[in-house]
């Protein structure tokens, strides 16, 4: 681990006309760290994620990313070509709805291989071997490699999306409600898988979720957002066990006890 952060975010704001998307958000993210962003819907967490992943341009503020050569680059000053290259090599983006992140009409193997081909891999045998390897790592049987994701269950699609993102060995992964819409047993296995992958690969991740249990399982640190602002941030266990901001207290106390 280095003593320099991977991502530095400073005073990031996004306004939709007069409406606030997110307002004055600052934080650092270190390599291998998983940061959860929690809050109710409409609190600006997805806006924040989209700004960080350069899918949206913020109204003001800066975000710098430490490239593989150790140099910090200002994300919003990069050319579109550089941003898109970063997006498909050093970054991953796991959508809540796998259909948004997968090509539903090409096979699972091609979905995993696309990033490899995008960075210039031109050997079919090697691409396929890598795809087989990644499918097994996300617990998809090898004989499903030529099936289209349309034939997959929701949980399998989500695991395929994760494999597709991780195949180029990214250092930072953005996840938007990765377990949304899955039933609890599938969620549990997916979380287990994600936790294993994040640890094994030393990934840094920013996970947006409204599910505090997901945040507790996956993340070391969390930020609580409300009306576009960060109302509380700290170590996940501290925030959940000893919430200080009134809104966090409300959020924590709203968890259903079974």
């Amino acid at each position: 681990m280095t003593d320099e952060p991977l991502l530095r975010v400073s005073a990031l704001s996004k306004f939709y006309g007069s409406r606030v998307g997110c307002d004055n958000v600052s934080f650092d993210l270190w390599p291998g760290e998983v940061l959860a962003v929690v809050g109710e819907s409409g609190s600006g967490k997805t806006t924040l994620l989209n700004c960080l992943s350069t899918r949206l341009l913020p109204s003001s503020g800066t975000a710098s990313y430490r490239m593989r050569d150790g140099q910090f680059r200002e994300l919003y000053r990069m050319s579109e070509a550089e941003r898109r290259f970063l997006m498909r090599t050093d970054w991953g983006f796991v959508h809540q709805n796998p259909a948004d992140g997968l090509r539903m009409t090409v096979s699972a193997g091609a979905n995993v291989g696309e990033r490899l081909m995008a960075v210039g891999d031109r050997h079919y045998g090697k691409i396929r071997a890598t795809a087989v390897d990644w499918l097994s790592r996300v617990e998809i049987e090898e004989d499903r490699i030529d099936d289209e994701p349309r034939a997959f269950s929701g949980g399998m699609r989500q695991r395929l999306q994760i494999a597709r993102n991780l195949v180029t060995g990214p250092r930072l992964v953005f996840m938007d409600e990765p377990t949304g819409g899955l039933d609890v047993s599938v969620q549990a296995r997916l979380l287990d898988l994600l936790r294993g992958l994040v640890t094994d690969l030393g990934l840094a991740a920013i996970v947006v979720t409204h599910d505090l249990a997901v945040a507790r399982l996956l993340s070391q640190r969390m930020m609580v957002m409300k009306d576009g602002r960060v109302v509380e941030s700290g170590l996940t266990d501290r925030v959940l066990d000893d919430p200080r901001a009134p809104y966090t207290q409300l959020l924590v106390s709203s968890i259903l006890q079974v």
Binding site: A81, A110, G113, H123, Y124
Partner: protein, 299 residues
């Protein structure tokens, strides 16, 4: 019939021809790049070669000799009609002979006879965007061309190998032009792809409905995409042409009867006829009778 004065030379007005020539020049300057142009309504339906006809109309002069082929043949409806059209509106000489033509408008074949410097091959293109079936958004495909993001093209070839064990794309096989733009060579069989590479002839592509023109200047690198372990290959045929016995040419299957009888013949009719005139005979070629007393076969 001789109301040619009511048309401008080559049907299109001069201002339109200038606009199309500008698009052609830009296309030649950026090989493989699809140049948008203000495609006009033509007196024929979309899909019948409106793009090719506009390109031909813009470059043709009174001294040009025009040849038009449709799937290699000079005698099909589309080819005959377009040839008659230019004869009428431009009063140019027309031919079926590849070597003596200066402009060859083609639908989906490159003639077997090698093209030479000074000739122009005009392709009729239905869908100019090679990435279209993989990425339906035009804004996105233009961005992908601009940023040279062509990984998706290989996804298609990957799918072919995964499903069929080999690259099963046989026509509209994607090529990379001069190491930069990925281009759809129009639905020519991939058999013709190697003929595009460093061709001495100028190759122009017109897509009327899609309003795009692109070009491959003479002596430009045109490389078919492939994988290292699945290299590009052209189709091969088990037997020679049934009429002229030509090998290493592209053959069409012709159904002879309703009992499964069929034969394979040259798709390039001009090439086939020339060879038969030279005396080449395939196994189904009709008997020729040089002596007049043998003209009438016994029935």
């Amino acid at each position: 019939m001789t109301d040619i004065a009511t048309y401008n030379f080559a049907y299109l007005d001069e201002q339109t021809k200038r606009m199309i020539r500008r698009a052609i020049l830009k296309g030649i300057a950026i090989p493989g790049y699809q140049v948008p142009f203000a495609s006009r309504e033509m007196p024929m339906p979309y899909g019948w070669g409106t793009g090719g006809v506009q390109v031909t109309a813009s470059i043709i002069g009174p001294d040009d000799v025009l040849k038009v082929i449709d799937q290699g043949a000079d005698d099909t409806t589309n080819a005959v009609s377009i040839r008659a059209f230019f004869k009428k509106v431009a009063n140019v000489a027309v031919t079926t002979d590849t070597a003596s033509a200066t402009i060859i408008q083609t639908r989906h074949r490159i003639p077997e006879h090698p093209l030479t410097a000074g000739q122009v091959l005009v392709y009729q293109v239905p869908i100019p965007e090679p990435l279209r079936f993989l990425e339906p958004r035009e804004t996105e495909t233009r961005k992908m061309h601009a940023l040279e993001e062509y990984g998706l093209m290989h996804v298609k070839l990957y799918e072919d190998i995964a499903k069929h064990g080999r690259i099963a794309t046989t026509y509209a096989y994607p090529v990379k032009v001069e190491g930069r733009y990925v281009m759809d060579p129009s639905p020519t069989p991939k058999f013709d792809n190697p003929k595009m590479h460093r061709s001495p002839a100028l190759q122009l592509f017109g897509a009327g409905r899609e309003k795009r023109i692109y070009a491959v200047p003479p002596f430009t690198d045109v490389v078919s995409l492939d994988f290292e372990d699945h290299p590009f290959e052209v189709q091969t045929f088990d037997q020679p042409c049934a009429l002229c016995a030509a090998e290493n040419v592209y053959l069409d299957e012709v159904i002879l009867d309703d009992h499964g009888g069929h034969m394979f013949v040259c798709s390039d009719t001009d090439h086939c006829e020339k060879r038969r005139q030279e005396g080449h005979r395939g196994h189904l070629a009709p008997e020729i009778h040089l002596a007049s007393e043998k003209m009438e076969p016994a029935r």
